[in-house]
């Protein structure tokens, strides 16, 4: 793990202190503005049209006003109470919000290149461009994995930058493609339109993005670059699965079954994938730990040891990912229960997917107990992080493949 550079870069200037805080409150203002539009503006909230309402001049007016008010208030408060600049929430959150905004902008630009409505039909979705962007994402993610592996053997700064850069590119490509797919589902038919988190293919892309993003935030904050090879190899394995799904016709935009037609889907599913993604990163850290531990035990003098974070750091990074994933996964499961209560008449039915979510939760709960209350460290917990992720993968894909139940709309055919 290399120390962070001391001189303030442009990144730090923009993402720390005054600018971060002003922007942070501008984002809050904008979302309050949009919420106000949903509640009070003419037309109000219409589930199917809201995406477009936000991007229309009406949305820009409400959101923009909110952003300006937020930014202005923040500027005033900073002058009155400069100590606020020390806060960590704004600088930690703002880059993520910037990224999301950039994805929206990229998707809006890409939407201009969509073919005319007459060329699109439900039967033939091949002319839609999100598919090509996803293909580009697949290639870039695999390339990034290769570059991260190359970096282990040839730790050139240049190779490292390419690896990181391509991982970022992959995330933005994935985000853009997903947002575009949302738009495309409405282009096919307003009735079909729905958020792009409705089938395995779509959530896989979400999973790649979240996994890579969590890893990259660790790389940026803690310089854990040696871990990238493991995390991106996991992502690449997922990419191959996604390509297979596409090849068997699971990538088409399909109308939602009645059970999925609920706003809960937009909250429950992405929240779940924050959990899954974080557990994937924990698994990556665990694998790196095990490799480094093995090398050290053999007395290896390999240069690779200089790139990997130390054992102690890897141990803590795995814990940190679980600390991100566990609350997110808990919340996601609770949201799922709330949805189940509304759609199926009971918050818990011991459906296979629910039960496996509980199993995943118990496994990581035990991990946390072992670590926090019993002071376990090192190898055993690294194995636990890896094993926990295998359980997670079964919960995510295995249940859909091998077990039936109420979640069977996620079924592979």
């Amino acid at each position: 793990m290399t120390a962070m550079t001391a001189e303030p870069s442009i990144w730090e200037l923009v993402n720390r202190g005054r600018w971060a805080l002003v922007r942070f409150y501008a984002y809050i203002g904008a979302s309050l503005g949009i919420s106000a539009m949903a509640m009070y503006a003419q037309g109000g909230y219409n589930e199917d049209a809201f995406l477009y309402q936000i991007l229309s001049s009406q949305g820009l007016l409400w959101g923009g006003t909110g952003a300006l008010v937020g930014a202005a208030l923040a500027a005033v408060v900073i002058t009155m109470k400069p100590a606020m600049l020390q806060g960590r929430v704004a600088p930690n959150t703002v880059p993520w919000l910037d990224g999301m905004l950039l994805m929206v902008i990229l998707a809006s630009i890409a939407a201009l290149f969509e073919p005319a409505a007459s060329q699109i039909s439900y039967e033939d979705q091949s002319k839609l461009i999100a598919g090509s962007i996803i293909m580009a994402m697949n290639v870039v993610f695999i390339f990034s994995a290769v570059a991260y592996i190359a970096y282990l053997f040839a730790p050139e700064n240049f190779i490292g930058r390419i690896a990181t850069g391509s991982a970022y590119f992959g995330i933005y490509a994935g985000g853009t493609a997903l947002l575009l797919r949302w738009h495309e589902s409405y282009m096919i038919d307003v009735e079909i339109g729905h958020a792009p988190v409705s089938n395995l293919y779509e959530v896989f892309i979400l999973l790649f993005m979240i996994t890579a993003a969590i890893y990259l935030s660790f790389e940026r904050r803690y310089g854990a670059k040696g871990m990238g090879a493991f995390v991106m190899v996991l992502v690449s394995a997922g990419v191959f699965f996604g390509v297979w799904l596409d090849s068997v016709g699971q990538a088409d935009i399909k109308p939602l079954v009645p059970a999925l037609q609920s706003y809960w889907m937009k909250i429950h599913v992405p929240m779940n994938f924050v959990g899954y993604g974080a557990f994937a990163v924990a698994c990556g850290a665990g694998m790196t730990y095990l490799l480094r531990h093995g090398m050290e035990a053999r007395g290896s003098k390999s240069k690779m040891l200089n790139i990997f974070p130390t054992l102690d750091q890897l141990d803590q990074l795995a814990y940190k990912s679980v600390a991100v994933g566990f609350p997110a996964f808990t919340l996601a499961t609770i949201l799922g229960a709330a949805w189940a209560a509304e759609a199926w008449g009971g918050y818990w039915s011991w459906d296979p997917k629910e039960t496996w979510a509980l199993i995943v939760w118990l496994v990581y709960g035990a991990y946390l107990h072992a670590r926090v209350s019993h002071g376990w460290h090192g190898k055993a917990l690294a194995w636990w992080a890896v094993g926990g992720f295998l359980v997670t993968v079964f919960c995510f894909i295995g249940v859909n493949m091998y077990l039936s139940g109420l979640h069977s709309y996620g079924r592979l055919t």
Binding site: Q86, Y122, Q261, W350, T355, L362
Partner: protein, 541 residues
């Protein structure tokens, strides 16, 4: 290894069983699947309704006990710990700190000034200062409430489990099938391996049920119009759809399923004895019609008003179309193997618009997986084709023995003339091919009559799920506390910093010490930042 870890792992392993073994299926299915020995082993362990067995509930009980014990033991200790904030540090505990830095300052800054600089760097921290034995201690805390995270998470899980217990103990959940136009009062549900029933304090009438479709043919909405009748009075009429239940008298009513509510169907029976006769059989779904003459019986099991199918001929293409109503029945008779049939009312019109004749799918095993398509050749909805078929069969039987292509063709010509006279229809080519297909197939069918759906009066039933769950709100409260507690636990570490100032002969000695109970990496970064800043400030002035 502690009890908590063991308990969590045992619970998760036990939970796996119930996901691998399908729960609450028909007992006969289990018996068939596992054979008598394993069936009885599994049954006596309660594995077919595993999550309600005494041993699984005991495990959950142990979890509750363990949680209570943990809280009982730890809460007083933690509350005390959160109240205490000892400012002074002895030499030994100072040395033991994870993070520690020292300065030897030559400057003449007073302890108060140094403390002021220290305080200025830390936004949102709580400070306390004490003078003791010539040393000046400043303690700074952030996240002192951290232990509340532990307390709330563990009590939240306890609350959720209690909520679950209340749900099971005082709530109910069951199903009710209400045919369009009729009323129901009773729900049925599984209790262990048996079915139990319960009367609701009101009646539900289904006024109508409808399915709406996407253009692709996939269902987009299941909608029931219900009226609640309480003590003979209509109190409420409302639509429900999936995800939007109805609430009355503490009971939620959900749209869960649908099916045929006993539609009237009538079959046209085409007699295969050469008499050219047809007759009508009227019955309804879930009933059995018996032919007094032949002893043939039709047990009608289902009816569907629409069947949207992909009729594209090349693989991978899609062309969705409603191919019309279908009826499912089991056909039985003396000397006939009983088979399950799904028969369509309309002839099959292919993607190019060509009539391919009437058709049905037949399952010899009675399993829906084994349905095989039988194209009957004739379009039974067209009376002329039935006449043509019979005339052709008649002429063929006259020339029995010396059949060849030429006389066959002549027989067909004659039959054609009998039916259509001098003006055969335009698609006579295809009719001819199909009639020959029928001549080859139909006489081989073992049935004395061929039943073809002729008319229907469709009625749905709506499958409702009714549930009362007094524990639900308790569960939500527990869940909210759980998430809140986890956030405190993971994102509000208790960080402590000390600045210890003591005057010595050649200047001032200052120590900066830090400790945290979570997220050591980030704290180390913060500590080093603080050290760099203080270093600058202390050195400069």
């Amino acid at each position: 290894m502690s009890l908590a870890i063991v308990l969590l792992m045992v619970l998760s392993i036990a939970s796996v069983i119930g996901t691998v073994l399908l729960q609450n299926q028909e007992q006969t299915d289990y018996l068939q699947q596992f054979g008598p020995l394993w069936y009885w082993v599994f049954r006596s362990l309660g594995l077919f309704d595993m999550y309600h067995t005494w041993w699984f509930l005991t495990l959950l009980g142990f979890l509750m006990l363990s949680l209570t014990a943990c809280l009982w033991r730890n809460v007083p200790k933690m509350l005390k710990e959160m109240r205490s904030n000892k400012v002074t540090l002895n030499e030994r505990s100072l040395k033991r700190m994870e993070l520690l830095q020292h300065w030897k300052l030559k400057s003449t800054m007073s302890a108060a000034e140094l403390e002021q600089i220290f305080r200025k760097q830390l936004y949102g921290w709580k400070f306390k200062a004490v003078e003791e034995n010539g040393q000046h201690f400043v303690r700074a805390d952030k996240g002192r409430k951290h232990k509340w995270g532990y307390i709330s998470v563990h009590s939240a899980i306890l609350i959720v489990l209690v909520g679950g217990w209340i749900s099971v103990q005082f709530g109910f959940r069951g199903n009710m099938a209400v045919a369009e136009g009729s009323m129901e009062k009773t729900i049925s549900f599984l209790k262990g391996t048996e079915t139990a029933t319960l009367d609701m304090p009101f009646q539900v009438r289904c006024n109508s049920f409808e399915i709406n479709f996407f253009a692709t043919g996939a269902p987009s909405e299941f909608r029931s119009n219900l009226t609640i009748i309480d003590e003979g009075k209509e109190v409420l009429t409302s639509d429900i759809i999936v995800n939007e239940p109805l609430f009355y008298k503490g009971v939620y009513i959900y749209q869960a399923s649908f099916g045929d509510g006993g539609s009237d169907v009538s079959f046209k029976l085409f007699h295969m004895d050469g008499s050219q006769k047809t007759s009508i059989a009227k019955t309804s779904v879930y009933k059995t019609w018996k032919d007094p003459e032949t002893g043939l019986s039709l047990e009608v099991t289902d009816f569907r008003p629409y069947n949207v199918e992909n009729i594209a001929e090349t693989f991978g293409e899609k062309k969705f179309k409603d191919i019309g109503p279908s009826v499912e029945y089991v056909i039985r008779g003396s000397g006939i193997k009983p088979v399950k049939v799904k028969s369509y009312m309309n002839p099959y019109i292919d993607a190019d618009g060509n009539n391919q004749g009437s058709w049905m799918t037949v399952s010899l095993t009675g399993d829906a997986k084994d349905y095989q398509t039988v194209a009957m050749g004739l379009d039974f909805t067209n009376q002329d084709e039935w006449r043509l078929y019979n005339a052709f069969i008649g002429y063929l039987s006259q020339i029995e023995g010396k059949r060849n292509e030429k006389v066959n063709f002549e027989a067909f010509q004659k039959a054609l003339h009998d039916v259509y006279g001098d003006s055969p229809p335009k698609d006579i080519q295809s009719i001819g091919t199909r009639t020959i297909q029928a001549v080859n197939l139909l006489p081989q069918l073992p049935w004395p009559v061929i039943p073809v759906l002729d008319d229907f009066n469709h009625v749905y039933y709506t499958g409702l799920q009714l549930a009362k769950d007094p524990g639900m709100n308790v569960v939500w409260i527990g869940s909210a506390i759980l998430v809140f507690g986890l956030c405190i636990m993971f994102y509000m570490p208790h960080r402590k910093l000390w600045l210890v100032i003591r005057d010595t002969e050649d200047g001032t000695e200052v120590s900066l010490a830090g400790i945290t109970n979570r997220n050591q990496i980030a704290f180390k970064e913060t500590f080093n930042d603080l050290f760099t800043k203080l270093d600058k400030e202390f050195g400069h002035s």
